[in-house]
């Protein structure tokens, strides 16, 4: 009986890890893993300097161990990062009528699994050539990870802003149906609608910068989010103005 009670408390937790709770857990995990990675990277840097200075078998062995630790923590950091991204994409996924969000999630999940399998192999590394071999393989996969994390950051903001646009459109429909809605209010609303369309255009332009194909000519996947960011920032600022203008309509006419 006691064992049954213990099993109950072990396996049946009262809070299902869903939505925002899960995101905040992954965020905490990400910052924890980031700290561990930073610490291991510092150790690696120190060991590298020492090895370059003394170049002995002992310093080489210490450097190999430091590299293995850093690779392990780097993998854990990336896994935590991919967990956060794929969960965040879930929130406004329903706003994406295309399959882009799902494609991004699938690729990131595949990379997440790849990282997990690699974590088990790191302990087998024992010499310099094996580290070089591992680095080569990691670089190939990391290119795709970078490409799709950038895609995910852009797509998650597009989905989120689109959800705001839908909410605003629904509210405007209700306002239009008001008996106090006169021709002057109509003019105001028309202006607001054109402002809202500007935000839609800006998110669309950001969506064009998502790169789901593997382009041979496009080697640098590290920063293409920065190309989409100005469009997304302008769209958000524009949405804040739209909200302010609707507030004016509600105060004046309703």
């Amino acid at each position: 009986m006691i064992y049954l009670i213990i099993l109950f408390f072990l396996f049946f937790k009262p809070n299902p890890l869903l939505g925002q709770n899960l995101i905040s857990q992954y965020q905490t995990d990400l910052s924890y893993q980031q700290d561990l990675y930073n610490q291991s990277y510092d150790t690696y840097s120190q060991k590298k300097i020492i090895h370059q200075q003394y170049n002995s078998i002992a310093t080489e062995s210490e450097l190999i161990n430091a590299i293995k630790d850093t690779i392990q923590f780097r993998n854990s950091l990336l896994i935590a990062y991919l967990n956060l991204i794929t969960t965040k994409l879930d929130i406004y996924k329903h706003q994406d009528s295309s399959s882009v969000t799902s494609t991004i999630q699938n690729i990131l999940n595949q990379q997440n699994q790849w990282l997990q399998t690699q974590s088990a192999k790191i302990s087998l590394i024992s010499n310099k050539s094996q580290i070089d071999q591992y680095n080569q393989q990691f670089s190939q996969n990391y290119q795709q990870i970078q490409q799709y994390t950038n895609n995910a950051i852009i797509q998650s903001q597009i989905n989120y802003q689109n959800s705001i646009i839908v909410q605003i459109k629904n509210l405007m429909l209700k306002i239009k149906a008001s008996p106090n809605f006169d021709s002057q209010a109509q003019n105001w609303i028309l202006e607001i609608e054109s402002q809202l369309n500007l935000s839609s255009d800006l998110t669309y332009q950001a969506s064009l910068l998502i790169k789901t194909d593997t382009l041979e000519s496009y080697r640098d996947y590290s920063s293409f989010y920065l190309e989409a960011k100005p469009h997304l920032d302008s769209s958000k600022q524009n949405l804040l103005k739209v909200v302010e203008n609707i507030q004016g309509v509600i105060k004046k006419f309703i």
């Binding site: 213990i6 809070n15 990400l30 990675y37 690696y44 950091l77 903001q157």
Partner: protein
Amino acid sequence: MDKYNQNIDIPHENTTKPTPKIPTSLSIKKTNPKIVALIGLLGLGLLSLIVTFIAQSDFPNRTSLQSNKLNQSSIETPTPVGDNPWQIELNSILTNLTSESPIPIISIEENLTF
């Protein structure tokens, strides 16, 4: 003195009463200390599980989240929330718009070389 002694002259052999015989069915069995210790340990284990269980539940988080949300909405929407449902809806949209935190960007060292 003798007078008093006469009055309280109780025979000493009668003061020690015979101990009542406890029926064998009601007698307390001598418990094994190992079993007592085991039960105690199990009890402690169960208690610690219950404490962990309560600590893992998100009741305190939920309340703090709610209070954070309330604080946020009061900061981010300076206009008082009137009875107008559209105003309330608009304030909710504004809160959504300002409270969203984008995905952070992390950087790592790709090549860990010698």
